[in-house]
């Protein structure tokens, strides 16, 4: 029986936003410092250092982690960088947990720092100047020759999923807007969120149409940000904090498609096998039931998926999110509060940092220190995804003490 692992600290050095004049390495240093500062640990006590793919200084070799260890004079005995789209942050946490449970290390720091917004702006400006666009974005999807007209963006893909969900569940665009508004209520009180102005359903409905039924205010915003969490073995956690948050277990699954499931007409685009299966495995592994979840943070890049994913995760019956969102069942005083600090749509979405933000939201909730605190939560759920939910991880956390 492997020992337990706890989250014992976290840090967000600055709000999610646009930071064109810094580097990802500098942002990482600040995140690590902030997370360590929330614990009594010195930097020399960090035995494992784990992160996700970055864009600079080099996206391929991963040697930016050496910059971080050099600048901080760190000598971890375990180090790794994990990369699988939006899932990366979840994988880095899993790797850290595994290393602790294997007994290789007793403390781990997991960080993510991304300047994806500023770097994308630079690339687009350069491309517009030279009238040539890089084709790397196109290679994300199926070969252009067999799946023509999939544009340089994930928005249309998720819009296709949203339209099908409307067809199958009876959801309307107003229901999607309600989810965006619920997320915003959390962001208003989250000092690290990018979008903190109150929002109404009318404003979402009137916002610019991007790819129907998705409108501007249904979308996440690609931004820059950094965050870190500290993990420890049970023995170590007891020495570090009075309020450890235990990672009870996780489930993971990867479906056999890239964005739209194309190689069969059976796969659903509005019911995500990877999320469903990952959740089932997480419940099985921990012995917890979906009805025991007191608070959840869900990785939904667009507001329609805010309705689909809680159904996949077993928090609401199939099609049940339509009524749940109408009746406020996912508000902070509802049956299963979801995305209480802004969610992907309002917190801001540097995709590799988002999973770390999610852990921080749930840890704060389970410690009773959230800005928008749910009443006495015991079990928290974190869902992380990559592709169009082609990969999913579900973590179940428990308040300690």
């Amino acid at each position: 029986m492997p020992g337990r692992v706890a989250v014992v600290g976290y840090g967000v050095p600055f709000p999610c936003g646009q930071y064109p004049k810094t580097t990802e390495v500098e942002m990482a240093l600040e995140a690590i410092k902030a997370a360590l500062g929330s614990t009594p640990l010195s930097k020399d006590e960090v035995e494992g250092l784990f992160s996700v793919a970055t864009i600079e200084p080099d996206p391929i070799l991963g040697l930016d982690m050496h910059h971080v260890t050099t600048y901080l004079r760190l000598e971890p005995r375990s180090m790794a960088r994990l990369s699988l789209g939006g899932l990366s942050g979840g994988l880095a946490v899993k790797y850290a947990m595994n290393e602790i449970q294997l007994g290789h290390i007793s403390t781990a720091l997991v960080y993510a720092a991304s300047r994806e917004r500023s770097i994308t702006d630079e690339i687009v400006l350069r491309a517009m100047k030279h009238r040539a666009f890089p084709d790397t974005g196109m290679r994300l999807f199926e070969p252009v020759s067999t799946q023509p007209y999939i544009p340089f963006s994930a928005i249309p893909i998720y819009a296709l999923s949203a339209r099908r969900y409307m067809h199958e569940s009876g959801a309307t665009e107003e229901h999607f807007a309600m989810a965006a508004v619920r997320n915003r209520k959390g962001a208003v009180e989250n000092p690290w969120a990018a979008f903190r102005e109150p929002l109404t359903v009318e404003e979402v409905m009137k916002s610019r149409k991007i790819a129907t039924p998705i409108k501007l205010l249904d979308c996440c915003a690609s931004l820059d940000g950094a965050a870190a969490i500290v993990l420890a073995s049970e023995e170590k956690a007891r020495k570090i904090t009075d309020t450890p948050v235990w990672i009870r277990g996780w489930g993971e699954h990867h479906d056999k498609s890239t964005f739209i499931p194309t190689d069969t007409t059976q796969g659903s685009i509005c019911r995500f096998v990877a999320a469903e299966t990952a959740a089932r495995r997480a419940y099985e592994k921990t012995g917890l039931a979906p009805k025991e979840v007191d608070v959840a943070d869900i990785y939904a890049p667009f507001s329609p998926q805010e309705l689909i994913l809680p159904e996949d995760l077993g928090l609401f019956p199939r099609g049940g999110m339509v009524r749940a969102i109408e009746e406020g069942e996912t508000d902070d005083d509802g049956r299963v509060p979801i995305n209480t600090d802004g969610g992907v749509t309002s917190r801001g979405h540097p995709f590799s940092v988002t999973p770390i933000y999610e852990f921080i939201n749930i840890v704060r909730q389970l410690r009773g220190e959230a800005a928008r605190q749910v009443k006495d939560p015991r079990i928290g759920l974190i869902h992380v995804e990559g592709g169009m939910v082609n990969s999913s991880m579900v973590f179940l956390l428990e308040a300690g003490g």
């Binding site: 020759s145 007209y149 296709l160 991007i210 039924p213 194309t262 190689d263 069969t264």
Partner: protein, 147 residues
């Protein structure tokens, strides 16, 4: 029925030879040019599949034969793209997921109809408009409502 709009040369720019000229895609590509929708069928396990792959996704055999399919399907879902920043496309444009008639798979492509005339479940016919890319004649696959 709206006529296909020119794509500002954008789409062609993205059809990099490195992408479309992979050897395994040549029969598919040549078929479109002749107005035929060819799909690979595994010579070993008889699996029919779409999109074409370098090997059979079921049994991994590289021995593939090509069969002509009825160019028909139904609309599984759709979205009207309106943002000009979908860099390579003329907007507005209806993007659709087409369930192919033989259940071999799904095609994500342009639906040649205005948003007001598309409906989930409607029957569609595949069409193969031609254009020139780097001096070479090529064909694309799109879908239009069956009237």
């Amino acid at each position: 029925m709206t006529e296909p709009r020119p794509t500002r040369g954008g789409m062609q720019k993205f059809l990099k030879p490195s992408n479309y000229s992979s050897a395994y895609l040549k029969p598919y590509w040549d078929g479109l040019l002749q107005g035929k929708f060819l799909l690979p069928r595994c010579a070993k396990c008889r699996e029919l599949f779409f999109p074409p792959r370098p090997m059979c996704p079921k049994c991994l055999s590289g021995e593939l034969a090509w069969e002509e399919m009825e160019p028909e399907g139904t609309l599984h879902s759709w979205s009207e793209l309106l943002d000009r920043r979908f860099l390579i496309l003329e907007v507005p444009m209806v993007l659709g997921v087409v369930d192919l008639k033989n259940s071999a798979g799904r095609l994500v492509t342009r639906i040649r109809a205005p948003a007001t005339e598309v409906k989930i479940g409607m029957p569609l016919r595949l069409v193969f408009p031609k254009y020139t890319h780097e001096g070479k004649e090529m064909a694309m696959v799109e879908a239009e409502p069956v009237r």
